[in-house]
């Protein structure tokens, strides 16, 4: 069977963009199989179809996988996989009512954003804060070049993520 791999990087809050990417791939005849490693997307050749992809982030759901997957299945969403806390679902657009999504109100969309913040961004920010404190402490004793470098690297990594968070938050706010 014809398969292909693609590397794509989406920051924590770009799941809507990722959903669009998977839909676009399926539309052009590449069916999503799984995502693994550091953003390696595996695809399989298929007949082009308009398939809606949706991503949830719900640790509660992953802890109670059977009933979580069952509820989505009952509503016609095929469960695909979990990947670093995100769960992937799809449904043919032909079976969906208009622009169907796995969330139907803005409260629940914000709650998902909150869960991503707590589950994925908070640990990162804690690390950043720790490095920052260590940096402040070691400055008094000089020789903190490595820490300073770590700090700068983390800062460069986190800035776009924070920017994406702000963008996603603003998008949801506007949708309300």
């Amino acid at each position: 069977m014809d398969t292909k791999k693609a590397f794509r990087f989406f920051t924590l809050f770009e799941y809507e963009k990722e959903q669009e990417y998977l839909r676009e791939m399926h539309r052009s005849g590449w069916k999503f199989v799984r995502v693994s490693g550091f953003g390696i997307y595996h695809f399989e050749k298929c007949t082009p179809e308009d398939m809606i992809y949706q991503i949830d982030y719900n640790q509660d759901g992953i802890a109670h996988k059977d009933e979580y997957v069952k509820m989505f299945g009952d509503c016609g969403w095929e469960y695909l996989q979990d990947y670093v806390g995100y769960s992937y679902f799809r449904k043919p657009a032909s079976e969906a009512a208009g622009t169907e999504e796995i969330f139907c109100d803005s409260d629940s969309r914000f709650q998902m954003l909150e869960r991503v913040c707590k589950g994925r961004m908070l640990p990162m920010l804690l690390l950043f804060f720790c490095v920052f404190c260590m940096l402040l402490m070691t400055r008094k004793f000089r020789g903190s070049n490595i820490l300073a470098l770590v700090f700068v690297v983390l800062f460069c990594l986190y800035s776009p993520i924070l920017a994406m968070f702000a963008l996603q938050y603003w998008k949801l706010k506007r949708r309300k």
Binding site: Q54, N58, K70, M71, E100, E101, I102, C104
Partner: protein, 104 residues
């Protein structure tokens, strides 16, 4: 009733309202989705991500309770606290409706 419950559920989302209303009888998430679809002539279709998140949140807040599991579907029922919150919400909606009818 503590402040957190008041703040989150008065007023509540349409989803939360339908969940509490339907859980006067024991039911599972998908059952609620179908009931609401029937009651509203297909106009309101609750989505599974929203339903799953709301049920876990409301269970944690003590508004509904888990009763049993049937074929991997968790069945819940409203609690006394849930009924109390629903009553407050109903009074609020009734007042809105009454005022909407009155001549100004």
């Amino acid at each position: 009733m503590n402040q957190h419950i008041k703040k989150v559920y008065v007023p509540m989302t349409e989803t939360a309202f339908y969940i509490l209303r339907c859980l006067k009888q024991p039911n599972h998430g998908y059952g609620i989705i179908r009931t609401v679809e029937k009651l509203t002539d297909g106009e309101i279709r609750l989505a599974p991500g929203t339903m799953y998140g709301s049920l876990s949140k409301m269970e944690k807040d003590g508004l509904i309770q888990f009763i049993r599991e049937e074929d991997k579907r968790k069945i819940y029922q409203i609690t006394d606290l849930g009924s109390e919150v629903l009553q407050i919400e109903l009074r609020r909606i009734e007042r809105l409706y009454r005022i909407a009818q009155e001549e100004m």
